[in-house]
């Protein structure tokens, strides 16, 4: 069983552990993009903010899972509120309007979080051991927490996929995204569904934020999601913003490539490897690798 602790498998495990988070963030970007054609630059900051709302409850004596639940609830609320107040006036406006508003919201949330909770990182109690499994004296780079992280991300991804694929709600969400006018003519309450799409996306992001901030002593800080957002966004663009499956696969791919480059490429390269992946992928297929739409609408 030494192959599990080999350098190759070590990189695979670490790559997957990071990659599922990129995938989760990418997925939540795709949900919003598909339904409202808005690229949510504030996605990471919204997740961070909701995570703060929930996780600071631990200082009131609540345990990890209760705080997690509150954070997710806060994520739902924040997502809904954002759609109603900020995003709704942006439909049918030029693209730059939504980019700027969401960028402004990103700045507002990060500064507000720093003002309320300070920039000092807040360590979160982790519910699972972070210590890597040992096998016959050699270390396998997977820990109970890493497994929790991978499983939690996969569960959310599967749940989101199942909602879209198999439920009536999902059918209506897809219809509202593909043909909003037709959906309304069939009695679908499109506005409510758009709000719900943002709530769902926001809550999925919160799961990523909570896992990231409790995955070590780095802790929760206002800017914690910045880097993850950039990589999640790159994953979404590489996978094709229309494709949830593409987002997840691209997220995993970027996690793995980054990990392997870190060990086998000169230092410094790995920090911008995902950008190279993005450029190459967009050169091959400008609409994303997994997108089914034949060409971008102009």
């Amino acid at each position: 069983m030494t192959w599990l602790s080999s350098g190759f498998m070590s990189d695979v495990f670490l790559g997957i552990t990071n990659g599922v988070l990129y995938g989760l963030i990418a997925l939540s970007l795709v949900i919003v993009w598909r339904s409202t054609s808005i690229l949510n630059f504030a996605q990471g900051a919204m997740a961070m903010f909701a995570a703060y709302v929930g996780m600071t409850m631990s200082s009131h004596g609540l345990n990890f899972w209760a705080c997690f639940a509150i954070a997710i609830a806060a994520g739902f609320a924040l997502g809904g509120l954002t759609e109603r107040v900020l995003v709704r006036p942006l439909y049918k406006r030029p693209e730059i309007n939504s980019i700027v508003v969401m960028v402004g919201f990103l700045g507002l949330l990060e500064s507000a979080a720093a003002a309320i909770w300070s920039t000092a990182p807040r360590t979160l109690e982790s519910p699972f051991s972070q210590i890597y499994f040992q096998h016959h004296g050699s270390t396998i780079l997977l820990s109970p927490f890493a497994l929790f992280q991978i499983i939690a991300a996969l569960v959310i991804m599967t749940a989101v996929g199942a909602i879209f694929r198999y439920t009536n709600l999902g059918l209506q969400l897809r219809a509202a995204a593909l043909a909003p006018e037709v959906a309304r003519l069939l009695g679908v309450r499109v506005n409510r569904l758009l709000t719900f799409g943002w709530m769902l996306s926001s809550a999925a992001g919160v799961v990523a934020a909570v896992v990231i901030s409790s995955s070590g002593s780095i802790g929760l800080s206002p800017t914690i999601m910045d880097g993850f957002f950039v990589f999640g966004f790159i994953a979404a663009a590489v996978g094709g913003l229309e494709s949830p499956l593409g987002a997840v696969v691209a997220g995993l791919m970027i996690g793995l490539v980054q990990q392997f480059l870190q060990d086998y490429a000169p230092s410094g390269i790995s920090s911008f490897a995902p950008v190279i992946i993005l450029v190459v992928a967009l050169m091959i297929r400008p609409q994303g690798l997994f997108s089914t739409t034949k060409a971008r609408r102009v």
């Binding site: 059918l171 897809r174 219809a175 309304r184 069939l186 679908v188």
Partner: protein, 236 residues
Amino acid sequence: MISVSQLSVSFGAIHALTGVSFDAANGKITAILGANGAGKTTLLRTITGLEEAASGDITLDGESLLKKRTEDIARAGVGHVPEGRGVIAEFTVLENLRLGSLAAKVNFQEGIAEQFELFPVLGERRHQHAATLSGGERQMLAMARALIAKPTVLLLDEPSLGLAPLVTAEMMATISELCAKQNLTVLLVEQNAKSALKVAHDAVVLHLGKVVASASAQEVAGDERLRQYYLGLAEQ
């Protein structure tokens, strides 16, 4: 009864509809006729709230529709098969039908059984994506999707567009049959006045956003002036 009174709609400086008034009787087919750009599609879209009226009123059984949202109008029993049919190409036939049934809260299994009886070809292709259907099949799907919600009013926007004459005739026959069987109020927008007038009870002729005639289908069909100038029909 759908009752339109003094309805005006404009897009910026362009007046799409000006002072349009007519009644569409329950359980009857009212054909809305006129040339391209006469305002037929705008009329239907205003009824279901997709366009905003500048003045006037539209009522369904006495209740105004103007302040209502599209989805609420649909839930009140107004089915609208829009221009170009609006089937969702990425969905299968079944998914399209299921989408149509959700808001009305009808029994889906019974609903599809009914529709497949009415349009057997849809039953055969139930798992195919709508993108793979022919023009006629798509029109059937669009109608079935509207009918599955058991509407009391059905708005049809150019159902014959792009269909072969034989298919058009079949389609018109189906509409006529439905109207009779289910006591459906139908507003039928058509450029193809000839086939529409065959099945319609009443007809409204629009020209440049104004009503030039509103009478029984027979009367309209018999008016030589209307036929020549507004409906583009040659002498009988």
